[in-house]
Symmetry: C2
Subunit: 159 residues, 2 copies
DNA sequence: CTTATATTTGTAATCGATTACATAAAATAC
DNA sequence: GTATTTTATGTAATCGATTACAAATATAAG
C-alpha cells in the first residue's frame, strides 16, 4: 500500500525522486561492497576520458551535464587519487586539460569487470520499455518543461 | 546529442537524477509563478490530512515515505503559515496530532484549482506507459535492490 | 514495581549537488 | 591598441533532504 502511488500523476514527482535517491545511495553501497577505490560518479568521467583522451573541465561538464563546480570537485578527488592529471592548456591558459594517468589505464580492465556486474544489476531493474519511455520523458521535458506547460495551460483557461 | 543517453544502462541512474532534480526545481518555479503561498511538498500533506483529519508526525512520515525530520520541518513551516495545528495527544504525550486549520480548508478549493493545472502539465510529460513502467521499477527495487542484485551476481560468478 | 526496551519527536551534523559570486584570460569591438 | 564582452575555472553560500544522536514517554519483561 503506497499512498504516493495512489495519487497517480500527483505523486509521480516524489516517486521519481524516491527512486533517484535510493539509486544514488545504493550505488555508493555497491562501490563500498565491491571495494572499488573510486566513487560512482567517477565512472562517467573515466569512460569519457578513455574515449576522448584530453578534455577541459567545461567540456566534461557539458558532456555529462553536471554543473562545472561538480566536475571540478570530482576532478580534484580523482587527481588526489592519482587517476587523472590536469595541466594548463598552453594555447589558452584559462583551460585545464584533464586526462587519465597510466595508473588509471592500468586499472581500467579491473574496473570494467566490476562495472559490468553493476550494469547487469541495473538492467534487471530497468527493462527496455522503461528506457524507451525515459527517452520520451526527456524529449517532452526538453521540448517544453513543467513551467512552460503550466504557463500555457493558465493562458488557455484565461481566454 | 547526449553522452549519458549513449551509455544506455550505465547512464540511466544519472539521467533519472537529472530528471528528478529538474522536476523538483521546476515545481518550485511553478509555485512561484502561480503565486501559491505554499511549498510543493506541502501539497502531499494537505491531501493526506484532508482525508485522514488527524495524523501524527510518524504516520505522515510513513504514508509519504519521507524521513521524520523532513516531515517535522514541513509541519513547522505549515504551522507558521497557519495551515495546520499540532497538539500533544492526551493519550500519548509523545505524539503530536497534526490537523488542517479552518484557513487551510477554506483555501483548499483555490489550491486544488491550481494543482489541477499542474497535474495536467505533469500528465503531458509522463504518459500512462511511463507510469506503468515506473510501477514495475518500484517493484523490482523493492523485491531486490541494486546492492542485493550485485551481491547475487558476484556470488554466481565466483561459483 | 522496577528495569529494560521500543517508540515518538526533536535537533545537529552531514551530504552531494546547485546557484551566485569572483578572478583571470581570451576574443571582440571600436 | 585599448576597452568591452565573453569564456573558463575556482570558491563560497545555499538547499533540501538524509543519517546520527538525544531526550522523553510508553510498553513489555521479570
Amino acid at each position: 500500500m503506497d499512498y504516493l502511488k495512489s495519487l497517480q500523476l500527483i505523486g509521480v514527482t516524489a516517486r521519481i525522486k524516491r527512486i533517484s535517491d535510493k539509486l544514488m545511495h545504493d550505488a555508493r553501497r555497491v562501490y563500498d561492497y565491491l571495494d572499488l577505490p573510486i566513487e560512482p560518479n567517477w565512472h562517467l568521467v573515466f569512460l569519457l576520458l578513455k574515449e576522448e583522451k584530453q578534455l577541459s573541465v567545461t567540456e566534461i561538464s557539458g558532456a555529462l551535464k553536471f554543473s562545472h563546480p561538480a566536475i571540478i570537485n570530482i576532478i580534484k578527488k580523482m587527481k588526489a587519487s592519482g587517476y587523472v592529471t590536469s595541466t594548463t592548456d598552453p594555447k589558452d591558459s584559462r583551460k585545464q586539460i584533464v586526462q587519465l594517468t597510466e595508473k588509471a589505464r592500468k586499472e581500467l580492465p579491473n574496473l570494467e569487470a566490476e562495472w559490468d556486474k553493476i550494469k547487469i544489476a541495473v538492467g534487471a531493474i530497468f527493462n527496455d520499455e522503461f528506457l524507451e519511455q525515459l527517452v520520451e520523458v526527456e524529449e517532452n521535458m526538453t521540448e517544453s518543461d513543467l513551467l512552460d506547460r503550466v504557463i500555457e495551460i493558465k493562458a488557455k483557461r484565461n481566454e
